[in-house]
Amino acid sequence: MSKVSMVLNGKTVSADVEDRTLLVSFIRDVRGLTGTHVGCDTSQCGACVVHVDGKAVKSCSMLAVQADGAEVVTLEGIGTADSLHPVQAAFREHHGLQCGFCTPGMIMTAVDMINRYGAGNLDETTIRHELEGNICRCTGYHNIVKAIKAASDQMAGMAQAAE
């Protein structure tokens, strides 16, 4: 057992967990945040993507103890039902989901992508390439790509308006 502490969605949390506890199990089972999904459990599908110290990672392929001391953000940490993150709003607007199972990972990957490239700097080819680690079993990729592009462009407009 190890004591694990991290800042999860802005709140400091800690718990004693078995060393083999995966980060995704810590998030879902210990902290009860079920927005992060377990899809394939073999690190292919990306449904479990969260941000650790500002970078997208697959939380099913990381131990909770590895995230000790880190800042972790999950889907619950980027927006609320009343105040959606622009990426969440764009997924709703463009119907970027069918069954919705892969959506948490898609959205966290999209936010990371926009952070790295800068809002407004994403074209369709780049988005498709960057989605290499996220699988949608409904194969609804077209609208996912559209939603990410729209969110990226909209966030660039918001940034401009703020200047």
């Binding site: 078995e18 459990d41 073999t42 690190s43 997208a56 392929s61 103890v65 960057e130 290499e132 680690g133």
Partner: protein, 265 residues
């Protein structure tokens, strides 16, 4: 996953001593291969010694014409480093094509080469660029470090600390990824040294992991163009054959990837 005990090492010496005291331990880099393997119960180390928090093992620095890369440096850091992009563009582009973005944020160069997966990308770069692997005990040239499929010259408690790359006049990598797994079915790294000599290394296709193509190297030394390697292929008897592609198919892929790499370089 079976039970295991996790240790966070603060220094290379501490990591070695933690490993010496472990019953059946393994060093943990980014864990992008080891943890999925443990989840499948194909590996069950009693102890995991995390070496990614060791400051001496992180970062990228200039080293004459070349670069030195800490073993705990992630693929993402290698692919986005201005220094690597400027000095060894082939290496930066290779790192940006490993796995997917989330894997690249975690996976490390030291972890990847220590595992020596026959389909991993880095071994081809290290061999073609003539890199030196710096461990906690010694320095090894890349060709002596990689000894076979999933096999390296590393001893049980020996840790890869850094990889030293000499400069190159030109470098490029081309791979044919498996459409599903995205692992290389054949990947070819071509490097032209500052003295004009050429090295060509192949990953993904060989039965014993990475190997050099001396016939291509000779041809490219005289004429550095895709045409020079168009008629050269490895002996299919030495290549992997599986449901994804026969040995003869892979032999042809090596030629095609070599042409593409030379074109890019």
């Amino acid at each position: 996953m079976y039970e295991t005990t996790y240790h966070k090492a603060g220094s290379v010496a501490e990591a070695a001593s933690l490993m010496a005291n472990a019953d059946d331990g393994k060093f943990l880099g980014g864990g992008q291969t080891l943890l999925p393997t443990m989840k499948q119960r194909l590996a069950a180390p009693s102890d995991l010694v995390d070496v990614t928090k060791i400051a001496d093992m992180k970062g990228i620095s200039a080293n004459g014409d070349g670069v030195t890369i800490g073993a705990a440096t992630t693929h993402y850091e290698v692919s986005t480093s201005d220094l690597v992009k400027q000095k060894l563009p082939g290496l930066a582009s290779l790192a940006g094509g490993i796995g997917d973005p989330a894997v690249r944020h975690m996976g490390t160069m030291g972890g990847s080469i220590s595992n020596n997966d026959p389909a991993a990308d880095y071994p081809a770069a290290l061999v073609a660029l003539g890199a030196t692997v710096v461990t906690s005990k010694r320095e090894l040239v890349a060709e002596d470090f990689f000894t076979g499929m999933f096999e390296t010259a590393l001893e049980e408690d020996e840790i890869v600390v850094a990889i030293k790359f000499p400069g190159a006049a030109a470098s490029a990598y081309a791979k044919y990824p498996n459409p599903a797994s995205r692992y290389a079915m054949a990947g070819v790294f071509v490097a032209k040294a500052s003295d004009g000599s050429v090295k060509v290394a192949v990953t993904g296709a060989g039965q014993n992991g990475v190997f050099r193509m001396s016939a291509m190297e000779t041809a490219l030394s005289g004429n550095f163009s895709p045409d020079a390697v168009a008629g050269i292929a490895p002996d299919a008897n030495d290549l992997l054959s599986d449901i994804h592609g026969s040995a003869a198919y892979r032999a042809n892929l090596v030629t095609v990837m070599a042409k593409r790499a030379v074109q890019k370089a």
